[in-house]
């Protein structure tokens, strides 16, 4: 009887009050309307930046479309956007499978990120056109596509990303049915009509609930598999195989894990802003931040572990492959990015997130998340920019003979990067106008399953664990 409860006796404060189910529905549906002036201003700014970014992408393609060495930053951007927009919905999925209660209210905000996958797809289009074929000048480069047809990476990466976008949207939609029904019942105007159309006659019968849960499980698993698959493809085809001799078995895994890390960071940021500016303190409990904080901390440590695992093997290996890979990615043209990434992606977040006090609050958590996202962007630049800077005529050598110089971003690259990031934020912000930012039925369920109780001298929660 003296377990964790005792250990944190001093931290106890009264649990948040329970809110009645119909109040939840009304209040959450009301968040979709009545955007503040500041919200509108930001949407405009982000929207314009996105348009400029896309325009820059088109101009760059027309201008530099024949020189693959100039496209490293766009490749880094694809990888970064895939990490954030693809990783975030996993936050909704993973703990659901582990039946965690804290995650219920925030699944919606996480799955809104799947719409931002459109930004990744836009960035990928010119890149696919520029990616060198598997066979250049009669020689085949090292890829995972040993004997496959020449343009396999192009086809499969595009297909994968499209499939990821569609599955993400399906995952979102299958969990959103009851909320569309609440919009039908509680909203007005086009939102009500939309809710009516998309709720597909949801009334909440047993069969409907069972189907809903089955769908979430199915699309969730499917989403996870596709996400891992796409991460593997993008990281190998658009990264590793562009460098002769870079053979790094953990890199796809590293890419996936840092994708999850970025996803969690993105969710924390979104959660922070919606909690603060949409007045959702009642629904987004600090418990969610606490749990996300622990998850983020664990992922940060996992990142450094995966990084170090590959680093030390290259470092000790000292074969020509290993030396060239280290020279290109760490010691050579990208040394600044390497140190910046190390500090921003690991050291600073580590020292921020290690404190329980920080994880129980919101302010430092959101700072940590921004630092992580910035660090991740730099880390993606570190891996993808030098990879693309290898001239295509050297791509099938046994190992890299000549380390290319640092490639700095030009105006287009900066505009494209700003545009891509803005497009993600813009998409998520616009989606909050369409559907409540918190899942109404999950909040209701959360309140139903967790019951605050008095325990010995303190407070505790009795959490029901249905099968």
């Amino acid at each position: 009887m003296t377990n964790e409860a005792v250990a944190h006796e001093s931290d106890h404060h009264a649990p948040p009050p329970n809110v009645a189910a119909d109040v939840v529905a009304r209040e959450l549906v009301a968040t979709t309307t009545g955007a503040s002036g500041r919200f509108k201003a930001w949407t405009w700014i982000l929207g314009i930046l996105s348009v400029v970014g896309i325009a820059a992408l088109i101009v760059k393609f027309i201008d530099q479309g024949d020189d693959s060495t100039k496209w490293g930053y766009v490749a880094a951007m694809v990888s970064f956007l895939l990490s954030v927009a693809g990783g975030a919905p996993m936050v909704a999925m993973a703990p659901v499978m582990a039946k965690a209660n804290w995650v219920r209210p925030i699944t919606r905000i996480a799955s809104l990120f799947s719409f931002a996958g459109i930004a990744t797809l836009i960035m990928l289009i010119p890149l696919v056109a520029i990616l060198p074929p598997l066979v250049t000048e009669g020689a085949r480069r090292r890829t995972i596509w040993y004997m496959a047809p020449d343009y396999s990476p192009h086809i499969w990466s595009t297909l994968g990303l499209v499939l990821l976008l569609l599955t993400g949207i399906m995952l979102f939609y299958s969990a959103a049915l009851p909320d569309f029904a609440s919009m039908r019942d509680h909203s007005t105007g086009w939102r009500q009509r939309l809710g009516k159309r998309l709720a597909r006659g949801w009334v909440g019968t047993d069969v409907q609930w069972r189907t809903l849960r089955m769908r979430i499980g199915m699309f969730g698993t499917f989403y996870f598999l596709i996400l891992v698959f796409v991460n593997f493809l993008i990281s190998t085809d658009f990264g590793q195989s562009m460098v002769p001799g870079w053979r790094d078995a953990i890199f796809p895994m590293y890419h996936t894990v840092s994708g999850f890390q970025a996803g969690v960071a993105g969710v924390v940021i979104a959660l922070y802003f919606s909690r603060k500016y949409m007045k959702l303190e009642k629904y987004i409990h600090l418990d969610a931040f606490w749990s996300l904080g622990r998850l983020l901390f664990a992922l940060t440590l996992l990142w450094i572990y995966f990084f170090y695992s590959s680093f030390i093997v290259f470092w000790y290996g000292r074969s020509m492959n290993d030396i060239a890979t280290l020279d290109l990615l760490i010691k050579g043209p990208m040394i600044y990015a390497f140190f910046a990434g190390m500090i921003l992606l690991w050291f600073v977040p580590w020292w921020i997130l290690i404190w329980n006090k920080v994880r129980r609050g919101t302010g430092a958590m959101v700072v940590g998340s921004f630092v992580i996202l910035l660090g991740l962007l730099i880390d993606r630049i570190r891996t993808f920019v030098p990879a693309w800077s290898v001239p295509p005529e050297n791509i099938h050598q046994k190992w890299l003979q000549e380390i290319p110089a640092t490639v700095w971003p030009d105006v287009f690259d900066i505009l494209i990067m700003a545009g891509g990031i803005s497009l993600v934020a813009f998409t998520v912000m616009m989606m909050t106008r369409v559907i409540p930012v918190l899942s109404v039925w999950q909040v209701q369920e959360f309140n139903l399953l967790a019951k605050p109780i008095r325990y010995i001298k303190g407070h505790a929660t009795l959490v029901a664990k249905p099968d």
């Binding site: 000292r318 020509m320 046994k398 190992w399």
Partner: protein
Amino acid sequence: MTTAEFGSHNWGMVVDVDKCIGCNACVIACQAENNIPLNSQDRVERARSISWIRVERYWEGDFPDAKARFIPIMCQHCENAPCEPVCPVYATYHNSEGMNVQVYNRCVGTRYCANGCPYIVRFFNYWEPVWPESLRNHLNPDVTIRSRGIMEKCSFCVHRIRRESRSARSAGVEIADGAVQTACSSACPTSALNFGNFNDPNSKVSKMKEDKRHYTLLDQFGTDPNVIYLAKIDADKKVGSGAAASHD
């Protein structure tokens, strides 16, 4: 002939594969010089024979055009030796004269170095070494007898180098080029094995090294060996295909 600055030695070997006739004299000389236990039939069959230098047979080319070749292989005394960083007790390390040396007294026999070696030229003593009574008086007093449980490998006949440098030092002169010969190089009837100082630009080996036939074994591992090979000359092939004998 000028000599290098005193003490500045980078010992190395140049192996002219074209001159090698595969007679195995180097192997026998090495066995006798370095007190290597007899490789009985049983030991050879169980792959426990010890042979600091060996003449390898290999095939070059694909079937109808295949050629049987041979090449002497000993410790390559790599500058970037994979065996060195893995030894927990510094039993093998790189000395200042470009040699990869094995300190028998330190060795505890983890055999990690042997796993790291791409040339597989390190040998483990599975048993206490024994010689027939008749051979006991033939052992070389300059060379330690290795007890069981430790690694051994080609030492570039370090005892001969030490002997020469001692006498050169006491005489106040430099070691003359060619004064130090390893057992194998002095036994080689065709001068395929040449031992000398790479730091001396005028030494025989330094000049031979410049031959355009030169290559090193398994260069993809980046080991930077101090044993340089000169490629076999093919009547029907162009000279200087460096990777010809790297067995890819």
